[in-house]
Amino acid sequence: MYLREIQIENFKSFGNRVRIPFLTGFTAITGPNGSGKSNIIDAILFVLGVRSPKMVRAERLTDLIHKGAKDANYCKVSLIFDNSSRELPVDSDEIILTRKIKKAPLPNKPDNYYSYYYINGKSASLSEFIGLLSEGNISENCIVQQGDVTAIVEMSDMQRRKIIDELA
């Protein structure tokens, strides 16, 4: 079950809708400092349901919405997985997981927003979403963020053992 494509819309430095198709095997992403490489990784974490904006270098979730020449009021990221081997219990060759954040300012709460999750375009609850991800063996453990390569060695022995607990 591999990642076929990422669609990034108004997320961080991605000002329009950008489609990044992926093939199996080993893909490298490179480019100048500040161009948006880690933002792609943040987009993946965003769909995987990251709760704390600090994990993706933002103060609030609404900071993830592209600020640029034209300020959008929402951001949306989709991960499109190949499911032709029916690894996930969904009868479809392709599984599209989408997360969207939309600004919804209120008089007493200007940073208010709505959060949406979709599976193949249909509204889904966060638990259905997380459930599908864990069946596909996809979690934040598959992601090493910039600067975290030595995290395994720097964490406490107890935290490290808990990684094994979670696999068992």
């Binding site: 079950m1 591999y2 990642l3 961080k12 430095s13 000002g15 329009n16 950008v18 990044i20 198709p21 992926f22 093939l23 199996t24 095997g25 080993f26 893909t27 490298a28 992403i29 490179t30 480019g31 100048p32 500040g34 161009s35 948006g36 490489k37 880690s38 933002n39 792609i40 990784i41 993946i44 640029g68 020449a69 997985f81 690894e87 063996n137 996809i138 979690s139 453990n141 598959c142 992601i143 090493v144 963020q145 910039q146 600067g147 975290d148 390569v149 030595t150 995290a151 395994i152 060695v153 720097e154 022995d157 935290q159 490290r160 053992r161 990684i163 094994i164 607990d165 696999l167 068992a168």
Partner: protein, 159 residues
């Protein structure tokens, strides 16, 4: 509960010893603080780079810590592969020789799982099957697909 833990731990430990040795030519091991009741203790990493004594993790160099950490990540991957892995600049501390070894191991592992690796290092990019370039203009990012290594060299090379 304890059985399930040891089932995982023993396999991951075996993988760790093999992978660490493959990457460094030295010896690495995972040790339980409390073998009777694993849940009451932690999981200790012990490494012995070639020619050195067993070293405390604290005193390791940046590159040595990276290799010890990456061996753990790959050991877990071998036990229970995920569909894909996204690794952002894991080669930042690695010298050319270690960066190449890690990139080659990723290339090998990428037959079983998809790897998406952000890197600025030529030696890593050279091992990839596909390369994407990211650039930005006026703060808006664009993706350039299917760049080959020679084009990348022009992109990252200094004029």
């Amino acid at each position: 509960k304890k059985e399930a833990f040891f089932e995982v731990f023993n396999k991951v430990r075996e993988n760790y010893r093999k992978i660490y040795s493959q990457l460094t030519g030295g010896e690495g091991d995972l040790i339980l603080e409390n073998e009777e009741n694993p849940f009451e203790g932690g999981l200790i990493i012990k490494v012995k780079p070639p020619g050195k004594r067993s070293l405390s993790l604290k005193s390791l160099s940046g590159g040595e810590k990276s290799i010890a950490s990456l061996s753990f990540i790959f050991a877990i991957q071998e036990y229970e592969p995920s569909s894909f892995y996204a690794l952002d600049e894991i080669d930042m501390f690695l010298d050319e020789k270690n960066a190449e070894k890690v990139a080659k191991m990723i290339s090998e592992n990428s037959r079983k799982a998809q790897f998406i690796v952000v890197s600025l290092r030529r030696i890593t990019l050279m091992q990839a099957d596909h390369i994407y370039g990211v650039t930005s203009s006026n703060g808006v990012s664009t993706i350039i697909g299917n760049v080959n290594v020679r084009e990348v060299e022009k992109m990252v090379e200094v004029k």
